[in-house]
Symmetry: C2
Subunit: 453 residues, 2 copies
């Protein structure tokens, strides 16, 4: 009797987590991973630090290479294999290799981990000086380009966290950087107070941020390094280098070929066991939507840390287990120059759009005792005014902002009201915090507004 | 008609928090604070850093001085006033000034914030080279002694967090330090894994730690700087300076004079509104016991951050409000040389003593990405094996250990099971965390042991 075969499509965070978890639970399972590129199991969140040079070699971002998975974990990783269609009736995946060969691979269980792709193809994106920072291969190309061409002027389309981190990286390499942001504020999902802090730190490092400036085209003579980035109604900026970071959309074409249903967000719909609507097909990572615990509705929130968790759950269940992924609360942390930025839950605008009746407060406290060089810390809390339920938290500062968000994320997981947060027993010692934890100070300020209504 | 009078006894963390909160809510209330010493409203947690010299001047530890409270907040702070008895039938407090005068002060509402005192009086404690680090005045005396006498050899009795922090401070001033600990491990309330880390860091800085070494006497010729510290059955160490930090006991004599009931721990019993059993008498801070949310029983856990919260609640309620203090989960954070130490909830031993059937796991992960100089991070989780309920967490490492405890403290507040922690949406970015948050890794390890039973 042949053993069961688990087939995983996509070998980055979610895919390799699924394969590894399944192997851990079932040493007899045959596990095959199809990866269209040449790299598996790398930390995409580290790509900006590879571009800056802090990560000297691309291999440092690779947790384990394909050989490791083959030899140490008995996982048959097939690089350069692009899955092109799925025939669920026959439990068959059709793949093409990068040598143009065609292969049909049977599965008993299938995990889709096809990831995300740049959200839009801006005309001119195929030019040689245009890059995204979406995968290891493109980051390697970008760094080689930086080393070879020594571009002077960079334009970054999009001020999401990747755009901001790449801006930081390029400034550290001596480039002049302009960011073109389509909307009215930097970093979608934070409110005006944090956006102002981001603008301040960008300006202080000489980064120009143009808002309401959607990029429409990258133009210029064929083959020339110097291009013009056209934006808005009549804007134009010269650029030796263009980075496209206007967001990620889920890669779903393969799933759709199998009749796998997409959700409202346009990403693959999965239940909390990471099952799709098609029997024996699971999905995980940036190709899927996730349950947002605060809104109670699906959201598209592609992040490596979520992909790892979902992949683990998908792999466990594909191997016959019973793991559950309850969803996210929308936590995001980034660093732009010296500024730590963190958010969780909903922004004020998102809360309003979701149908809550939100109220908010923003305070500035300090990260730790002054005599330990404590820095100002901005805390914003968002809550639902009728119920007092916490909806979100945003933090910014040069010290102690990033991981402080975890306390607020936990409050969201626990569905706490602001009133439940007034006396939380959080860690205090002068080298690490002021005696009144800043998030608690904000909760007390919030309570004044809640009590008044 | 005369206005109501709130009388507060004790002017440090809990007392001044109570007075300030009451003033905020009621501008007409007459508020009197009796403080036996000369200082109010200082951060006692900063005393080790005053001894080391990081805090240059004692005034930096004082949040506001008595004049500020008198002028800016209309609070009648009376320094050098020691309350000696309470007559609740007459709503009267008898005080003595440090000039030997006697005063009788009427109250309508009374807040007891008499704090804590050194746990034991070791024979010889009255010698001129013996100090505790319990209040600002004693820390000022100690620093003056260090400057004047330039002692070379220090012995610290007790390896609680204050003993450890003072050891760090004295080493930074060039002293040879020996710590004598009565029990089998350093820092009561942490398990062997953390205790081993503490021992390692002490040793690496030349601090000798003797365990099972209760101090019995400080002996030597009268008036001499050099004394002998006697410990255990026949131990003796020469010392130019002795620090007593064997713990804190609640100051309850005054409360008892009023018929205020003590709890099982020996500290003043209060409800969640900070009311004692005696009408119109509240209590807060180090003289009280607190509800431990994990055990569901009262505990004595004197900490400045708790005192501030309790004081605020007592002040609000004394002024006619309805605030509640739900209790603590036992969070404690400290730094000993380069080692950050954090704990929350119960240790394995405490969990066993409380009647749980605890199980634990300890893992070593990393504080953040290696290319951001991530450091090893020790995580220990303790849970109740039959129910899977989280009972405690301990962290140690040179980076990112201290405030990471907040996520675990929140899990305790929310009464989470380990199973609820596997996929928490905690902050991730390479400058701040590894892609799998160390606490989650520990939860997954714990889950293996829970699933097996």
């Amino acid at each position: 009797m042949r053993s069961e075969r688990l087939l995983v499509i996509g070998g980055v965070a979610a895919g390799m987590s699924a394969a590894s978890r399944a192997r851990r639970l079932d040493s007899n399972l045959e596990i095959v991973v199809l990866e269209k590129g040449r790299d598996v199991s790398y930390g995409a969140c580290g790509l900006p630090y590879f571009i800056s040079g802090r990560v000297a070699d691309a291999s440092e971002l690779v947790v384990h290479n394909a050989d490791y998975f083959r030899k140490e974990r008995g996982i048959d990783v097939r690089l350069g294999h692009k899955a092109v269609s799925i025939e669920p009736g026959f439990k068959l995946v059709v793949a093409e290799t990068d040598q143009g060969q065609r292969a049909e691979i049977h599965y008993d269980k299938l995990v889709l981990a096809t990831g995300g792709a740049p959200a839009e193809d801006i005309p001119g994106f195929e030019r040689g000086n245009v890059f995204n920072c979406n995968d290891l291969a493109s980051a390697v190309c970008l760094r080689a380009f930086l080393d070879r061409e020594k571009p002077r002027r960079a334009v970054i389309a999009g001020s999401g966290y990747i755009g901001l981190e790449v801006a930081d990286a390029l400034v550290s390499r001596g480039l002049e950087v302009t960011i073109l942001e389509r909307s009215e504020t930097a970093l979608d999902g934070v409110d005006s107070e944090l956006a102002a802090e981001i603008e301040r730190v960008l300006a202080s490092h000489g980064v120009a941020l143009k808002k309401n400036a959607p990029v429409s085209q990258i133009a210029g003579p064929a083959g020339a390094l110097a291009t013009s980035v056209l934006y808005g109604l009549a804007g134009s900026i010269p650029a030796d280098l263009v980075i496209l970071s206007t967001g990620i959309r889920p890669r779903t074409a393969l799933a759709e070929s199998a009749g796998v249903a997409l959700g409202r967000t346009g990403a693959v719909a999965v239940d909390d066991a990471m099952r799709t609507n098609v029997h024996s097909i699971f999905a995980a990572g940036d190709c899927t939507e996730v349950q947002h615990i605060v809104t109670g509705a699906p959201a598209y929130f592609p992040l490596g840390t979520t992909a790892n968790k979902q992949g683990r759950v998908a792999g466990e269940n594909a191997a016959g287990g019973h793991a559950r992924f309850p969803g996210i609360v929308g936590t995001l942390v980034t660093k732009v120059f010296e500024l730590e930025i963190a958010r969780t839950g909903l922004s004020l605008a998102q809360a309003r759009d979701t149908g809550f009746s939100p109220q908010s407060v923003a305070i500035t406290s300090i990260s730790k005792a002054k005599y330990f060089d404590g820095k100002p810390l901005l805390v914003k809390l968002i809550w639902d005014q009728p119920t007092g339920l916490l909806l979100g938290c945003q933090l910014a500062g040069e010290d102690g902002a990033a991981k402080r968000i975890d306390a607020a994320a936990m409050a969201l997981h626990a569905r706490m009201r602001v009133a439940d947060m007034l006396n939380l027993d959080l860690g205090y010692a002068p080298p690490f915090a002021p005696v009144w934890e800043p998030i608690l100070i904000a909760a007390h300020e919030a309570m004044k507004l809640i009590a008044r209504s």
